[in-house]
Symmetry: C2
Subunit: 417 residues, 2 copies
C-alpha cells in the first residue's frame, strides 16, 4: 500500500529513506516561522483546507482550475483543496474585519495543494508561511512585511550573501502597459509574458509580446534602466533604516503571475540562482472587495514562503540542524523489584518537564545502557537499595561521567550535575 | 462567500463571533500536546491528509465509506481525506520499521475528516492528538500509553475529579462472544451493539442481541460483575505505581467501535458525563500485518484525543487561558524626524527576540499610547533628542509606571525595568 503520488510522509529523524521527509525539521521550520511572525506582532489564523471552488474562480477565472485539486463532494458542491491561502484570508477578513483594529497583521502555516502532472520531485502539496497586512495603504506596511520576510529567512542562518529580495511594482508595469496599449483586457496576458521572461526562450517571448504590440527589446530596456518608483524608493529607505538594505534590490523582472496584485511586488531568490523563487508576495488592494462582493474595501498585502524550496536551500547551505530524541534522562531499571518505585521516579521527572525514557520490559543492564547511549540521553538515573534497605537514586551525566547520589525525591536536584 | 458546512475558521483572540474558533487556543492545545508527548519520549510524524480509499477499506470493509470524505481524483484514483490516522501510521511503519528500534513511540496532530450530515455544531473536520507504541506486546506499553493520555489531559489543569479513563478489554469481550457463539463472522456486529449500549434504547439493544443469541441481561451482568483480566490488572498496578491510580477504572461498557482492536481498550470521559468520550484507544496487534500485506507483523496500540470535545470540556471547567498579542514593547514615534532611528530600534529589539509593535504611519501621541494599552504591551519605548542633539531612549513599564532612560543601543537593558 503506497501513499498517493506527489504527497509526502514525514518521519522522525534519523530518516529511514531518501524518499521521505523529516517531521523534526518541518517542526523546526514551523517553530522559527511562528517565533519571527510573533516578534513582528503578527497573529495566527487558519481556515479550512477545503473551500468552495468559486472562491478561487472569483479572482482568476477558470484558467487555474486546471491545476487545482478540485472535485465535486457528496453534497454536489464544487470544492477545491486550497491552492493558496489569500482567498481564504480575504473571505475571513470580509466576514469579521470590524472586530479588529487596523492594520490587521496575521500569519498562517497552511498546507496547500495543486493537481499538477506528477514527476520526479514534483509535489502536489507543500506548506507555506503566509503573512499579510490588511487595512494599511501606506508603503510603510510593504516595508514592514518585507522586513518580516527577511527575518523569516535570516532566522535559519541565511545571510545577505545567500538570498536577496527582488522588489518590483505591478503599478509600474501597469503604467508601462497602459501607455502603450488601450485594451485593458490584454493586461493580464501581458503580465503573464513578463512573469515568464526569465524562464522562456527570448524569441518566443518576443513573438508573444509582438502579438500584443510590444517588443522584448523595449521591455528589456525598461527592466534594466527603469528607475525605482517613489513608492519603491520609500520601501528601500525604510528597510535601509532598519539595517536591512543589503537584503533588497529593485528588479523589474519580477511581476508575479497571479492576477490580483496591484502595487509593489517582490520575490526572494537565492543569490547563486540555483533554486526557484523562495518566496513571493505583494499588494492586492482589490481582492478583499472582490471576495466580499463589494461589502468590504480594504487595502492588503502579503507573502507566501514555501517549505520545500527553503528546505532545499538550507540543505545546500549546510544550515539544517541535527535532530535527536532530546532525552534528558534514561532511567535504568536493573533490579525488577525496583520497577514500581522506578515508575514513580519516571513520573516525577516527567511531571517536572523532563524527557524521560526507560525500558518497558525487563532487559539486561548493558542493553539498557546501550539504548540510553543510542538515544543520546543527557543523563541516566537508577534506583538502588542501600544496605539499610532504603532507596537511593544515582544520577550520571553522560558527557562528564560525573555521578551523584541522593534520595529518590531529590533526583531533580541531582540532574543539575 | 461562505466557508463549507462543517468546517471551521480559526481567528486570533479576542474572537469576533461565536461561530468561529480560536487560533490562539488551538495553538495552546497543540503546544501542550507536543510538550507532553516529548516528555514521554514520543517522536512526531505526519502523513498526507489524502490517502488511497483502499487504505481504509482494508481493515473495515465498505461500511465506513459512507461517512468518509472520499472522491475520485482527476487521475481516476479513489481517494479519501483521512478519517483517522492509524491506517496512515500502519502504512508508514510497514514501509520503514526496520530503521527504528522497537518499541517505536510516535505521535501526530492530524486534521481528520468525515462526511456526516451537517447539523448544529456537527463538524466535518477536527484535529486529533494521536500517540502510538509499535513493537511491544507487553502490557507495560499499554500502561505507558495510558499514562501519556492522563498527562495530556492533566496538562490543561484537569484533575481526577474532572475525568476518568475507563479501561476494558476487547480480549475479554472476544472470549465472552466465543464462549457463546461459534459464528466468528458475527463478532463485529456483536461488538457494535456493545459499543452502542449506553447510547441506545435498551429494548432495541436487547432485540439486536437476541437476534445473535445473546441477551442484554446476561451482558449487563458481565459488565457489572466482570473481574479485571490479568492484563488489565497489570495495567492498573503499573499506573498505580506512577501515582495515577485515581485516573483509571475498569469498565466493560467500553469496547471501541472500530473493527481492528485486539486487546485492552480504553476511553476517557468527563466525570460529570456531560460530554462524549474525550479520547479513546487500545491495542490493534493485527493492523500493521494487514496493511503491509503480511510483510510486517508488529504488535501496536494507540489513542486519539480530539480537539473539539477537549475544548468544550476545558471551557465548561473554566480552564481556557486568555490569549493576547503578547507585545513586549510598543515603540512610540512621537517625532516623525526620529522614525528612521526608531525603525532601527524596533529592528534591534525584534532581533533580540522581543515582540514589538509600533504605528506604521504618523499618529498622535495619545492615539499611539492608547493602542499600546489595547495591545496590553508590557513596555513602551521611545526615542527623544536631548538638548545636546543626542538620541535618548526612554522605556516605561506599563504596570509599575517606572521609567528609565539611556542610550538607544542599551534599550534592552532598560527593558528589565
Amino acid at each position: 500500500m503506497e501513499r498517493l503520488p506527489g504527497f509526502r510522509d514525514f518521519y522522525p529523524e534519523p530518516l529511514p529513506h531518501k524518499d521521505v521527509w523529516s517531521a523534526d525539521l518541518r517542526q523546526y521550520i514551523f517553530t522559527k516561522w511562528r517565533e519571527i511572525a510573533r516578534r513582528y506582532g503578527f497573529r495566527e489564523y487558519d481556515g479550512p483546507p477545503l473551500e468552495p471552488l468559486e472562491l478561487y474562480q472569483l479572482k482568476s477565472g477558470d484558467e487555474l482550475v486546471e491545476q487545482m485539486f478540485n472535485f465535486v463532494d457528496k453534497g454536489e458542491r464544487a470544492v477545491s483543496m486550497r491552492p493558496e491561502m489569500t482567498p481564504t484570508l480575504a473571505r475571513m477578513i470580509a466576514a469579521h474585519e470590524r472586530a479588529y483594529k487596523k492594520p490587521i497583521k496575521w500569519f498562517a502555516l497552511p498546507q496547500l495543494f495543486r493537481y499538477e502532472r506528477p514527476g520526479k520531485g514534483r509535489l502536489r502539496e507543500h506548506f507555506q508561511f503566509n503573512a499579510d497586512i490588511i487595512g494599511e495603504a501606506d508603503v510603510a506596511a510593504d516595508a514592514e512585511l518585507i522586513a518580516l520576510l527577511i527575518d523569516s529567512l535570516r532566522a535559519f542562518g541565511l545571510t545577505a550573501e545567500d538570498f536577496v529580495i527582488r522588489l518590483s511594482s505591478r503599478n509600474a508595469w501597469q503604467d508601462y502597459f497602459s501607455a502603450r496599449c488601450h485594451d485593458h483586457a490584454k493586461a493580464y496576458e501581458f503580465f503573464q509574458i513578463v512573469d515568464k521572461l526569465e524562464r522562456e526562450d527570448p524569441a518566443k517571448s518576443d513573438e508573444k509580446l509582438k502579438a500584443l504590440g510590444f517588443s522584448l527589446e523595449e521591455l528589456n530596456h525598461f527592466i534594466i534602466a527603469g528607475e525605482p518608483t517613489p513608492e519603491l524608493k520609500a520601501i528601500l529607505d525604510d528597510l535601509a533604516a532598519r539595517g536591512l538594505g543589503d537584503f533588497v534590490k529593485v528588479d523589474y523582472h519580477v511581476i508575479r503571475g497571479l492576477a490580483y496584485y496591484t502595487g509593489p511586488v517582490f520575490e526572494a531568490f537565492d543569490r547563486k540562482g540555483e533554486f526557484r523563487a523562495i518566496a513571493g508576495g505583494g499588494r492586492y488592494d482589490n481582492l478583499v472587495k472582490l471576495i466580499s462582493g463589494d461589502k468590504v474595501n480594504l487595502p492588503a498585502l502579503g507573502f507566501g514562503l514555501g517549505d520545500v524550496v527553503l528546505f532545499e536551500l538550507l540543505k545546500a547551505r549546510g544550515l539544517l540542524p541535527t535532530c535527536d530524541s532530546g532525552v534528558d534522562v534514561f532511567v535504568l531499571i536493573e533490579d525488577e523489584e525496583l520497577r514500581k518505585p522506578s515508575l514513580k521516579l519516571i513520573q516525577d521527572l516527567r511531571s517536572a518537564g523532563m524527557v524521560v525514557e526507560y525500558s518497558l520490559t525487563p532487559a539486561k543492564s548493558d542493553k539498557q545502557f546501550k539504548r540510553a547511549q543510542e538515544l543520546k540521553a543527557t543523563h541516566t538515573a537508577k534506583l538502588e537499595k542501600s544496605p539499610g534497605g532504603e532507596l537511593v537514586a544515582k544520577v550520571r551525566n553522560f558527557k562528564t561521567r560525573e555521578e551523584k547520589s541522593g534520595p529518590p525525591d531529590g533526583v531533580r536536584g541531582l540532574l543539575s550535575v
